[in-house]
Amino acid sequence: MKPFTYEKATSPAEAAAAAARNKGAKFVAGGTNLLDLMKLQIETPAHLIDINDLKLDRIETTANGELRIGALVRNTDLAAHGSVRQDYGVLSRALLAGASGQLRNQATTAGNLLQRTRCSYFYDTNQPCNKRNPGSGCGALGGVSRQHAIIGVSDACIATHPSDMAVAMRVLDAMVDTVRPDGTTRTIPIADFHTLPGTTPHIENALAPGELIVAVTLPRPAGGVHVYRKVRDRASYAFALVSVAVIVQPDGTGRVALGGVAHKPWRVEAAERAMARGAKGVVSVLLADARTTADNAFKVPLVERALASVLSEAKG
């Protein structure tokens, strides 16, 4: 780990300003991903801004009936919250499918959105990686790519976004609320929050330097049956090969988002028009532009089968 200076911020605006003031600064909350990457010197912040005292750890229902989740709400608390379990079951299920009990106690809502890929070539500093070291190449292309992305990929990067939570938030149309170093705030729809790799895989989201997530807001409950299905190599404590988040209404219409297949939670609203007619039609649109490798081509039929299974479960 490289040496760093450390400060505890006392307000969101102050934290964002401190980040703008200190070159190479990073926010730290749970630290479960950042500290791991710092030990490997993949992340080398010169300054850490501890945001744990910002009092962004509340879950509140707004006057409009939306659910506002503070950036520092721990994954455990979000999954166990009464309103989430009752009205946003897909989110609770996605959180509980991720990590371990210990990590969910530490990891935060905002940190989960910002976690970095678990691509083994990103983690191995002896390997080329355009995300870790722009311009050095991609070890995964032509390498062992069983875990990697099949859609929205580029010649520079085929990494996936590892979050389960973010997939549920995508299907729920969540909004990400932020504060910028100049004190102004903005709201970023989750659809626009994470980015595709293109030629700049080191850029992973829409945040500007120093911009701090303060909350994630879920629209009023969408109703329907919520299911999150995660397919992985172990029954627990493993990242997804593919995951499927659905909300299905009584008339068979609904929404679907995928995890484990792209650089961001993958959702194509146009594909959802075919929901009532089954998985095949949905996946033919959802993964129309899939670009697979020999190692991960299995993910296309796996998505279709997982979705078919989930839709049949949702029918009850």
Partner: protein
């Protein structure tokens, strides 16, 4: 002289001129000898902080702690509480699990400086050889270990896990999210998946946990 040698020599010169103490100089030389990276390491000296930790009911003042020190390293190397183990140092094995404010966490993935003002409980604070915590006694009775390396983490995790169940926290295998989870072997296995045991003592660990859970009900 290769380009790397030239850069390294120049860097060492800067280090020697700036280093204030022998200890710092040693550390920096050590770092310069580490494997070369794509980009030369930025010149940086360790940053020291004073940290007050509350562990097992006692306050400890840690002076001049390197800001990089994890909670695990502070517990083991500064407070000599060596029950918490360093297995993977990546949050994957659970051997370093301690309880912070009643919740189990991996102490390798948090910094000591971030834990000021929190109540930390390690395996040493749960029980003593003469006065075992019920979970410790159950692990002994059911032979819930072979080499014992993962055991302190398993026990801290199990104790906090049962509290999570009591508080009604759901898990991945809880059938109905709107109902209180019911204690079962499937629930314990899922909830303990963050603690690995290379010896494979899982079945005995599960029996120990089940017994304590039963005693609590």
């Amino acid at each position: 002289m290769t380009e790397f040698d030239a850069k390294r020599r120049q860097w060492l010169k800067v280090s020697a001129a700036t280093a204030g103490t022998a200890a710092v100089a040693r550390q920096m030389t050590g770092e310069a000898q580490a494997a070369p990276r794509d980009v030369p390491a930025p010149f940086a000296t360790p940053v020291y902080v004073n940290v007050q930790l509350r562990v097992n009911g006692a306050d400890h003042q840690l002076l001049r702690l390197d800001s990089r020190t994890t909670l695990l390293d502070a517990l083991r190397e500064r407070l000599h509480l060596t029950g918490s183990k360093k297995g993977c140092d990546q949050g994957q094995c659970g051997a370093c699990t301690v309880i912070v404010d009643g919740r189990r966490v991996t102490s390798c993935l948090t910094l000591a400086v971030m834990q000021e003002g929190h109540e930390i409980t390690t395996i040493e604070g749960l029980g003593t050889p003469r006065n075992l915590h019920p979970m410790q006694a159950a692990f002994v009775k059911h032979d819930g270990y072979q080499c014992g390396f993962c055991t302190p983490g398993q026990i801290c995790s199990a104790v906090a896990m049962l509290d999570e169940m009591k508080a009604g926290m759901p898990s991945h295998v809880t059938a109905d999210l709107t109902k209180h989870a019911v204690a079962s072997a499937a629930e314990f296995r899922e909830r303990m998946s963050g603690n690995l045991c290379r010896c494979g003592a899982y079945s005995n660990i599960q029996e120990a946990i089940a017994e304590v859970a039963g005693a609590k009900r």
